[in-house]
């Protein structure tokens, strides 16, 4: 059913911290690893070892350079996956009902046995969150690891999306945005979590935390000055003994550096 629900009980989603992300792509790899072996069709690669490799990924990390009006540019790593929008345009365009948004937790999923592979949902998504698999010819997208988060066969600490579980920098957080006291709601409130392309009217559930402002230094002080000052006038201890001994061999007077 491709009509969007009026209301979802939970709003499960991710908070992605652009201040903390180091751009290691571990989330990309763990996502591909988990999702190629579990829910739905595997994420195939075409020509993986050849001249023109390509493949299906549900999560990709871009890097952007931001040039402020004054000062040095800043490099920001930018992981991007499905934002599980409240007003998901990918769902309503689907002609077969394969795309749907779950009323219980708001996760946007594809029923792969109903997908005709027309690609219209990928056109409707402004974020590039959907990719047609080159082998299976059905639309693939982030499931928020729906087969992990409720999976009682996994230890409790593993019941979160693979990307969140693997992130070594702690830049990804998973939780329920419908609950104002959840970790993700608090982080969003504290750090000014933002929507991507708000003008598209998709009301994304996932939020991005902007990079924290950079420290500013008083420009009167030469920041290299402490490094330029001599550390020691005369060599001391063991180094001093070597210096003196070598000086004697040379027949010269030893001196400071």
């Amino acid at each position: 059913m491709t009509v969007l629900p009026d209301h979802t009980e939970k709003k499960l989603g991710l908070v992605i911290d652009l201040d903390t992300c180091v751009g290691c792509h571990a989330c990309v790899i763990s996502c591909k690893g988990w999702n190629t072996e579990n829910y739905g069709a595997p994420l195939s690669d075409q020509d993986p070892y050849g001249a023109d490799p390509t493949g299906t990924f549900l999560n990709r990390v871009h890097s952007f350079e931001v040039q402020p009006e004054m000062g040095l540019p800043q490099l920001i790593h930018f992981p991007k996956s499905c934002l599980h929008c409240e007003d998901a345009p990918c769902v309503t365009v689907c002609p077969t009902g394969a795309s749907y948004k779950r009323t219980e937790d708001g996760i946007v999923l594809v029923n792969e046995t109903d997908c005709i592979g027309c690609g219209l949902c990928a056109w409707a998504c402004p974020y590039g969150a959907r990719e047609m698999d080159g082998e299976e010819k059905v639309m693939k997208k982030c499931t928020l690891c729906v087969d992990r988060i409720y999976n009682e066969n996994l230890p409790e600490e593993d019941r979160e999306p693979a990307c969140v579980r693997t992130c070594p920098a702690g830049a990804r957080h998973f939780g329920d945005f419908a609950d104002p006291d959840s970790n993700v709601s608090k982080l969003t409130a504290e750090r000014g979590g933002m929507d991507l392309m708000p003008e598209q009217g998709t009301k994304p559930v996932n939020k991005y935390l902007p990079p924290r402002p950079k420290d500013t230094l008083d420009t009167d002080i030469d920041i290299l000055a402490p490094l330029l000052a001599p550390v020691a006038e005369e060599p001391q201890g063991f180094l001093g003994w070597i210096d003196r001994a070598l000086g004697k061999l040379d027949g010269k007077k030893t001196g400071g550096a």
Binding site: T2, F64, P95, T96, A122
Partner: protein, 294 residues
Amino acid sequence: MHPAPSVIFFTSLSGLGFGLLFFLGLGYPGSTGWVAFVFFALAYLLAVGGLLASTFHLGHPERALKAFTQWRSSWLSREAWCAVLALVIMGVVGLGRVFFDTHWTALGWLGAAFCAATVLTTSMIYTQLKTVPRWNTALTPMLFLSFAAAGGALLAGQIETARVLLALAAAIQLAWWITGETALRRSGTSLASATGLGHIGSPRAFEPPHTGTNYLTREMVFVVGRSHAKLLRLVAVLLAFAVPIFVLTLPFNHMLAAVAVLSHVAGVLVSRWLFFAEAEHVVGLYYGAHASRT
């Protein structure tokens, strides 16, 4: 957007086919027997041929029947319904005309209405996409409807109507191109809004997520050179509109009519190629495309 031949042929040919069926449904021309058979056969070849072409871009064409289920929300599903209803109703009208020498007027009007609805729903598939600002305008349905009407009138041999409709379609095409130039900028979507980093400074795509291509870049990130596009626009206007209008002012004969039709079809195909090739999908911004147009 990637200009896929299957979709270009589908929208162009089925537009012409349903345009011709529209006029046949209204009773222009009201011919019967073998003459009607030729008109209806041509219309069905174009309309059904176009629909078949559209299935070539499906990943799973064997599941195509499922596309009839979501007419409440999906324009693609509505298009499927309208196309089938138009073809069935006009099929009955055609039977009457070819074999029973009668024109069932009310049924003809109903069929014509569904032909127009088919073209409208096709255009709405593109119009509804906020992600492609160039398409997201009321001018897009007008463009598709005027093209289908002009081509239909031309194929139906309605010379006076065709001349007027060709000129109208040309005007809408020009308006669509002119407003399209600024569509991405007016949409407000830019790399700054896409990343939310605009408050720090001016963002630039530094490094893509991978060294190769992916489905998104192949399907949605297509950039056509401005000078190349300008030349193709000129070719499209000359072939689709100028040549047919000029030919239609000459004394009628079947050879000239064929020249007018073939020129129009070629021009529509060029215009439709540009419709896709020039359209900027906002996901391209993440990959460093279209920055000069935001």
